[in-house]
């Protein structure tokens, strides 16, 4: 018989827990839900846009009654739970409805805080909390010239005030403090916000303490401590919320400010869970969506008997949902004597940015007017990234890091619905907004799955996140700071790599078992990653698993859109001979190659070959001494060179020779992502060495080494690593850097983002300053190369892996 699960509280957190549970274990429980409000579950964050007339109630419903029916959930709506008998495990509502339970979730949310002044019970005094509050406000606004007083200049109060103003009311915001939103903003940002709201017509009474609400039956005005009285047709109290713990306390659960829970969201009665705004976890209560959803996920995981998720608290960020006002804050933005503040102020543009650092890590940020980089700062904050190397341009934003030119596009609010956000999949702003609102999406992953935006190259991820934040209002659910390798495991890339090394895991199934993979044999994301990590860690020992490689690496050619393949032989250092060119021409004619194309890496690509032809093509190329160029692999691709001293009147060193030597040294090695090098013979840099993973620029006195550049999606110029004197040193540094990248980057992470993640300082410590370490890295690289430098084409031309290249059966 199924176990019985009862949820008290039909709100966002509780229902989210049910949704997560249904995903994990759809058949495990009989579920019943009690909700005090007479609706299904709606998106409370979007009440502000409803009030402002930008959305309707229907648009913010998350789960309509059909959803409960479809999932066999009994919904007792409009029924307040009065009693829980923990001994007999029965929940009883005020109308006598009873449900027994094996497990119970309490998600009673929070209540608005009503300040204890005379007159607070009068008609027309309301909070801003649910649909009925919004109805009352809309009703009041219909009378022309009516006046509203909003008590509370925090997030909620300002959103309410903005909505009322949009409905044509004359609005005064009363705030006890001298700064608006003082929990999210510092003084300068608060002042900017106040000025722009005043410009929109909002009035403020700062440092004003309310003494009484005036009126007989209905509210007529408000009086303050200093004696001032102002008229009001409606008073909205938006001074805060307090966890609704009445029921939990009454049934004897341990409560402090909220219902106290552990890391699996269980209360002191282990059969009873609690999630949402009513919860107190590690001393913290939360009122934003993202943490509540994280809690829901953990609770569901535990209810499904998986027991592998823990809630460890959340760092939250805030954005104000007032159209035309860009504001962002996160973390500890006030700072203290141990912190440093980086500040940028441009009053003319109405821009203010402050980033607070402790020990070179971001611990808080406040931004006003230009919030493009809010998500970036927040990410650096959550990941606890050392920003030493970014400090000098941190305030100018992420766009200035890589010269990517994406920066200004981030002004998503101002973009037209037809503006293309995802260039790979042709997804426009309108499509994404539509999907977010109509399908109730909350996370980046949701948007990726439904629209494909940001699911290919990922360069528009920032834009999509900004759109989510903009559409949902600030506190949407961001991807968790801890990023598992993929959905099959809870372990991160780094944990898996370390575990493989320390526990001597030497094949994919063993690694999957060790890390408690949730799927029988992984997925298309994790298997190639595991295969790479294992072969990098155990050169010569690990048996490469070709079924865990993408088709290009399995077939040693590049699949094209029509299912045909392209073939690119290696041309060492970009140098070739008439004999090689003749061989390439012969192959192109013999196999009726559709297109012959010169690649950006100084090689020749032959397009339109059928898979069955590949071994014969390779055999012909091999005969002329041409081998695989690994143009299909997460591997060493090319070493681009200029002609250098041999011909060029400006050349300072023999760049071609050095390029060839580097390519001979490194070809065949697998890397986390594709890896390109270049050698330029002089600082004119014709080989474009400064947009390569590893670049050498020859100078009169020796060689400058540059790292971490790429063309591609987001152009990034290299960072200067150091200068060396001899070709031998170039080889040692080149191999040491490559090995560090091979050993420490995440699979599918190019050197540019890896370098930004770990910092140039770190790479210098390992490769430049630590001579012994550098030698060891270089040595490990050379050792691994012993097992890597076999031409895969030759093996297959000789008949290896034939099953890959032939049909199993021909019919008719």
């Amino acid at each position: 018989m199924k176990e019985k699960l009862v949820l008290i509280g039909n709100g966002m957190a509780g229902v989210r827990a049910l949704e997560e549970l249904l995903k994990l274990a759809p058949e495990q429980y009989d579920i019943a839900v009690f909700g005090a409000e007479p609706h299904g579950n709606y998106n409370r964050i979007l009440l502000s846009p409803v009030l402002a007339g930008e959305k309707t109630i229907d648009e913010i419903m998350l789960n309509d009654e059909q959803w409960y029916t479809d999932n066999n959930i009994t919904l007792h709506k409009g029924k307040q739970v009065e009693e829980v008998n923990r001994a007999q495990r029965i929940v009883r509502a005020s109308d006598g409805t009873e449900e027994g339970y094996d497990r119970l979730i309490i998600a009673t949310g929070s209540n608005p805080f009503i300040i204890p002044v005379p007159g607070n019970e009068l008609d027309g005094v309301i909070a801003f909390r649910d649909i009925s509050d919004v109805d009352i406000m809309l009703e009041a606004s219909r009378k022309s010239g009516s006046k509203a007083v909003v008590i509370g200049g925090g997030l909620l109060g300002l959103e309410a005030a903005n909505g009322l103003m949009k409905q044509g009311m004359d609005v005064t915001v009363v705030h006890l403090m001298d700064t608006l939103m003082e929990r999210q903003l510092d003084k300068p940002a608060g002042a900017l916000l106040k000025a722009s709201l005043e410009e929109k017509g909002m009035r403020f009474l700062m440092e004003a303490q309310t003494e009484a609400v005036l009126g007989k039956d209905r509210v007529e005005g408000v009086r303050f401590k200093d004696g001032l009285e102002i008229p009001a047709d409606i008073v909205v109290m938006a001074v805060g919320i307090k966890p609704n713990i009445e029921l939990a306390r009454q049934i004897g659960l341990h409560c402090e400010r909220g219902v106290v829970v552990n890391d699996t969201m269980q209360t002191f009665d282990p059969r009873i869970y609690s999630v949402g705004e009513c919860v107190q976890h590690r001393g913290q209560t939360y009122g934003l969506v993202a943490p509540l959803f994280e809690q829901a996920k953990v609770c569901a995981n535990h209810l499904a008997h998986l027991g592998i998720a823990r809630y460890e608290g959340s760092v939250t960020s805030t954005k104000l949902k007032v159209t035309g006002i860009d504001l962002f804050s996160a973390g500890e933005f006030h700072g203290d004597e141990d912190t440093e503040e980086l500040v940028l102020q441009d009053p003319g543009r109405g821009v203010y940015k402050k980033v607070v650092l402790r020990d070179n890590r971001i611990i808080g940020a406040v931004m006003y007017g230009d919030t493009i980089d809010g998500t970036w700062y927040f990410e650096l904050l959550r990941d606890n990234t050392d920003v030493t190397d970014l400090r000098d341009h941190l305030l100018f934003g992420q766009a200035h890091l890589g010269d990517s030119g994406h920066g200004d596009d981030n002004r998503v609010a101002a973009m037209a619905d037809t503006a293309e956000i995802c260039g790979c999949n042709g997804v426009c702003k309108g499509d994404i907004v539509q999907a977010i609102t109509s399908k109730n999406l909350f996370t980046l992953d949701d948007v990726r799955a439904h629209t494909k935006a940001s699911s290919s190259c990922g360069s528009c991820t920032g834009l999509v996140e900004a759109l989510l934040a903009h559409t949902l209002g600030g506190d949407y659910s961001e991807s968790p700071a801890r990023k598992p390798l993929c959905g099959c495991t809870d372990f991160t890339h780094d944990e898996v790599r370390t575990g493989i090394r320390e526990n001597e895991l030497k094949d994919i199934p063993t690694a999957q078992q060790f890390f408690e993979w949730k799927t029988p044999d992984g997925c298309g994301k994790c298997r190639p990653a595991l295969n790479y990590y294992l072969l990098c860690q155990w050169p010569g020992e690990f048996q490469d698993d070709s079924q865990s490689r993408f088709i290009n690496e399995r077939a040693h050619a590049n699949i094209q859109k029509d299912g045909s393949y392209s073939v690119i032989p290696r041309m060492w250092g970009g140098e070739t001979t008439p004999a090689e060119l003749r061989a390439v021409a012969d192959v192109a004619e013999k196999y009726s190659v559709k297109t012959v194309h010169i690649t950006g890496g100084q090689r020749i690509s032959l397009f339109g070959l059928q898979k069955e032809e590949l071994p014969a093509v390779w055999s012909d190329l091999n005969a002329a001494g041409l081998v695989s160029g690994h143009a299909y692999g997460k591997a060493l691709r090319t070493v681009k060179t200029c002609v250098g001293r041999e011909w060029c009147r400006f050349g300072t060193q023999d760049s071609t020779k050095m390029g060839i030597a580097l390519e001979k040294l490194t070809w065949g090695s697998w890397t986390p992502h594709k890896y390109k090098m270049a050698v330029s013979g002089c600082p004119r840099n014709c080989a474009e060495a400064t947009i390569k993973d590893f670049g050498v620029v020859c100078v009169d006195s020796g060689y400058e080494l540059h790292v971490g550049g790429n063309g591609g999606i987001k152009v990034r110029a290299t960072d200067y690593l150091c200068a060396v004197k001899t070709p031998e040193e170039v080889e040692e540094y080149a191999t040491a850097f490559m090995q560090l990248y091979r050993e420490e980057a995440h699979y599918l992470e190019r050197t540019a983002p890896w370098l930004e993640r770990v910092g140039l300082t770190y790479v210098k410590e390992k490769v430049v300053e630590d001579a012994e370490g550098r030698e060891a890295l270089s040595e490990r690289f050379r050792y691994a190369q012993k097992f890597a430098q076999d031409d895969p084409w030759a093996e297959r031309a000789a008949g290896g892996e034939m099953h890959e290249f032939t049909p199993i059966k021909q019919v008719g």
Binding site: S456, D521, G522, C523, I808, K809
Partner: protein, 113 residues
């Protein structure tokens, strides 16, 4: 439906585990998959998205990831995994001894045959 359409494809061991091979025919290729548990499935070798050859994808669980744009297709039903929509027609298979038998008449319900 007559039994005459069943053909011998080859032995199970001729297909790599977590892999696929192609049955070539004039009407279009059929991909024959072998899962990690040695289950055999056959689908039209054509992704409902942009026609990518499913036989070339990474096989995991009872799914294959299309090599062109990473759509996931369910091997037992031929359906794209939600929220993607579409299907590749399935073909009946059975094992006779070590031999894989394939019926060249597709299962009903999917127009992508």
């Amino acid at each position: 439906m007559s039994n005459d359409n069943w053909i011998e494809v080859g032995k199970i061991e001729e297909i790599p585990r977590q892999g696929a091979r192609v049955v070539r025919r004039a009407e279009g290729d059929i991909a024959v998959f072998r899962t990690v548990d040695d289950e055999i499935f056959a689908l039209r070798d054509k992704c409902p998205h942009k026609g990518g050859p499913l036989s070339q994808g990474i096989v995991h669980g009872k799914r294959v990831a299309c090599p062109l744009h990473d759509w996931k297709i369910q091997l037992d039903s031929g359906d794209a995994v939600a929220p993607d929509e579409g299907c590749a027609a399935g073909f009946p298979v059975k094992i006779k001894g070590e031999m894989i038998m394939l019926l060249l008449t597709p299962n009903e319900g999917c127009p992508n045959t």
